[in-house]
Symmetry: C2
Subunit: 456 residues, 2 copies
């Protein structure tokens, strides 16, 4: 791995550009990301246009929209028209009006048309992820003609994943021929002679990215054609774009599981106010939910006054419910995402989680009881004359709460999917909050059952 | 997408096999995964050997090891020798002795050698992920010779990602030529005439999978050559194997973030006892850690008795600290994983998280104070004669605890990385536990400060 040492900002952009010009585009991106947007724009301008376009084509370039807006208006059209249309579309999404309309007007007609078409697709759709650079040939061509065509377009396409063979009459996609099969064909045979037997897998531009990702993953595809209603190829989703989308989704999922809104940019690039906004929403919602615990405890005020010893174990018992819930939620989020479990399997999961919760609760309950017995016998703390009953309360409450936590935590992702949300919206703090309130009620109910007539 | 309807188990395996024979291998895998291992093995035996091998080559096949062990010994060697060596190695990892030695003895010498070499690499290394099927040509060949060679091996290799050109003298990797460039070359020119200028990126077999994944992702590679100390190509990591590894890692990360050990198999395939074991460990550890809350509360027993009203807000305040910690941890786990933040940036993060925590804590504190004021004024609950001081205590404690939670949650992933662990080992429940104990101490300290002389 050749890491580029980040040059201090005082170095002239032209000098830096000369130093970077021979590096791989992703390495140039890394170097530019370490600079302020103005410096990055200056460096980009000093690079040969071809290299600059390669750099702008990398989705990893931070602040790409800011950089583009800083470029001189007379050179910008050259850059944008040479970039891939899907990347220009992504950039345009980030540029505010009137800048966007101005830039759009500078595009050549072909790029503008492509960008307009791509912009029409929703951000979560395949259409917004696809690239419009792909190679098609009519099905009445020979292998030789096809190879000639590939040689010709090779100069303008960065990567060729497969050649799509179209019905010469309707223009609809009929086959997908990998390059390696094309090479092994007889030059004068029809291109279809080297095509695999099956119809190619394809996806609609309005399908979800998730669906395209699943197909690419399952069938180990390098590129998945996107076809319209009449079977015309309008783009391809490439494996590398899909990986980028996967990583982005994974980051969002982890952040959401951590109990916040997903961030649109890397941690260090987020402004202070955006960061507060993305975190405060869920934090406040959880806080309001958790207020129910105060209400619940107010309801048990009488019991609390009579048996303060009970309060000692409240955090311990409640957190155990939250923890077991968090485990179950994380399990089911992934099982649902990977289609290992379907919505209709919810009851199978419930039937597994209840005994699991009982056993886990019993283990924790036993530890809790042992703790109370040891502290009492060793004279470390006096849990009062009814300490065996207190121990029994803690033990029994743990079984109940951990079981409830496992069940609630495992059902939550199903519930979310059922009502049309991504199961990954479920978060550990959300489950914990859900379980905390119920946990308190379970704890005090068990206490009333066991301790009535003695402590309560 | 053509989903195969799962046939009832009562259908004859041979009938099912005939029905499946023309499907894509991943679809056959899906159908087999819905069957018991014995049925799956019987179906596999009824498929043409070539198809059966394709199916066994899919890592998505559940219970592949069990299925292989059920196959008749006289046919198994044929299957295993036709499979890719990396897949056989994975399978062997799951098969217990003496079965494994027996199977190893049945392999042909070439496959056995490859499997032995691959087995020597650690499970987390590139060596265990690479495939040994790749195409190399010496650097003194022409384009025509190379194309001829590709045509020849095309029949035995499922996918050709690139041709590796070796130094004819030392056999070391010098260039990597994509197929599309080979096609556009003049047949009688040297193969190096179509090679890109740069030395190919490569990785050592002992490097981590993570490192290979990062290279593939960053440089949008379809395959990454694995070279030994003297530069000989010994394997390639393909993008589809890398995606599978990524998904597996993602699942493990989510499960670990949920506060449990990662599961080795899909949710539904895990035995009851394994499930208990994977969950009980962390649950007990967290329980033991959380016991500190009981100890802390015992220490504040005197205060509790004097001011029961304080107990009402314990769950509310503690959970807020845990929630803000969980947010910060999820943010930093991803930022570190994506190299957006480096170990040395810890103080920058701390400098961001402290004001963030103060503002978030202030927001929650304000809500908490409003709640107490409203309940008190509306007569919903009586927090006692000193209720304004109680409200102040709750508000101030929230600022302190949320700030501490954000700071502790953000520093934990750094700490883990510093001591050599994966930052993704940090879990939401772990952070919550960490923050709970300190949170209680903060709460009671604030209470002592504000309420001494009145309630306390």
């Amino acid at each position: 791995m050749n890491q580029i040492a980040t040059a201090p900002a005082s170095v002239e952009p032209a000098v830096l550009a000369a130093r970077l010009a021979d590096e791989r585009a992703p390495d140039i991106v890394e170097a530019l990301n370490a600079e302020a947007a103005e410096v990055a724009a200056a460096i980009l301008l000093s690079l040969p246009q071809e290299r600059a376009v390669e750099v702008l084509d990398q989705p990893e370039l931070d602040c790409a929209a800011d950089i583009v807006e800083m470029l001189p208006r007379d050179r910008i059209a050259g850059y944008l028209s040479a970039m891939s249309a899907d990347r220009v579309t992504d950039l345009f999404r980030e540029i505010e009006e009137p800048g966007r309309s101005d830039l759009r007007g500078r595009l050549d007609a072909e790029t503008r048309g492509a960008v307009d078409r791509l912009s029409a697709y929703g951000e979560e759709s395949v259409g917004s992820l696809m690239t419009t650079e792909f190679v098609t040939v009519p099905g009445n061509w020979t292998v030789r003609q096809t190879l000639e065509h590939v040689r010709h377009v090779e100069k303008t396409r960065e990567t060729i994943y497969a050649i799509f063979v179209l019905d010469p009459r309707t223009g609809a996609l009929t086959k997908s021929v990998p390059l390696r099969r094309l090479i092994s064909g007889e030059p004068d045979d029809n291109v279809l002679s080297v095509a695999p037997g099956r119809r190619p897998l394809a996806v609609s531009p309005t399908a979800s990215r998730e669906q395209a990702a699943r197909l690419i993953r399952k069938y180990d595809l390098l590129a998945l054609p996107v076809v319209d209603a009449v079977g015309h190829v309008i783009g391809i989703v490439t494996v590398d774009d899909m990986i980028d989308a996967m990583i982005e989704k994974q980051t969002q999922d982890v952040q959401r599981f951590g109990g916040m809104e997903a961030l649109p940019e890397p941690y260090m690039d987020i402004g202070f106010l955006t960061m507060i906004r993305k975190r405060a929403g869920w934090l406040c919602a959880l806080f309001l939910g958790e207020m129910m615990t105060a209400t619940a405890m107010q309801g048990f005020e009488g019991e609390l006054e009579k048996a303060i010893v009970l309060t000692l174990f409240i955090p311990l018992i409640m957190s155990s419910g939250g923890n077991s819930g968090s485990q179950a939620t994380s399990l089911l989020i992934r099982a649902l995402a990977l289609h290992q479990v379907r919505l209709r399997d919810w009851w199978r999961v419930a039937v597994r989680e209840i005994p699991t919760g009982i056993v886990l609760g019993a283990i924790l309950g036993l530890i809790g009881v042992v703790r109370i017995v040891v502290w009492q016998k060793a004279g470390l703390y006096d849990y009062g004359p009814h300490w065996p009953l207190v121990a029994a309360t803690v033990g029994a409450a743990l079984v109940g709460i951990v079981t409830f936590g496992s069940l609630a935590g495992s059902m939550l992702p199903f519930l979310l999917q059922r009502i049309g949300f991504d199961p990954a919206t479920a978060s550990a703090p959300f489950v914990a909050t859900l379980v905390d309130v119920t946990g308190l009620v379970i704890y005090f109910s068990v206490a009333l059952l066991i301790l009535r007539g003695t402590l309560l």
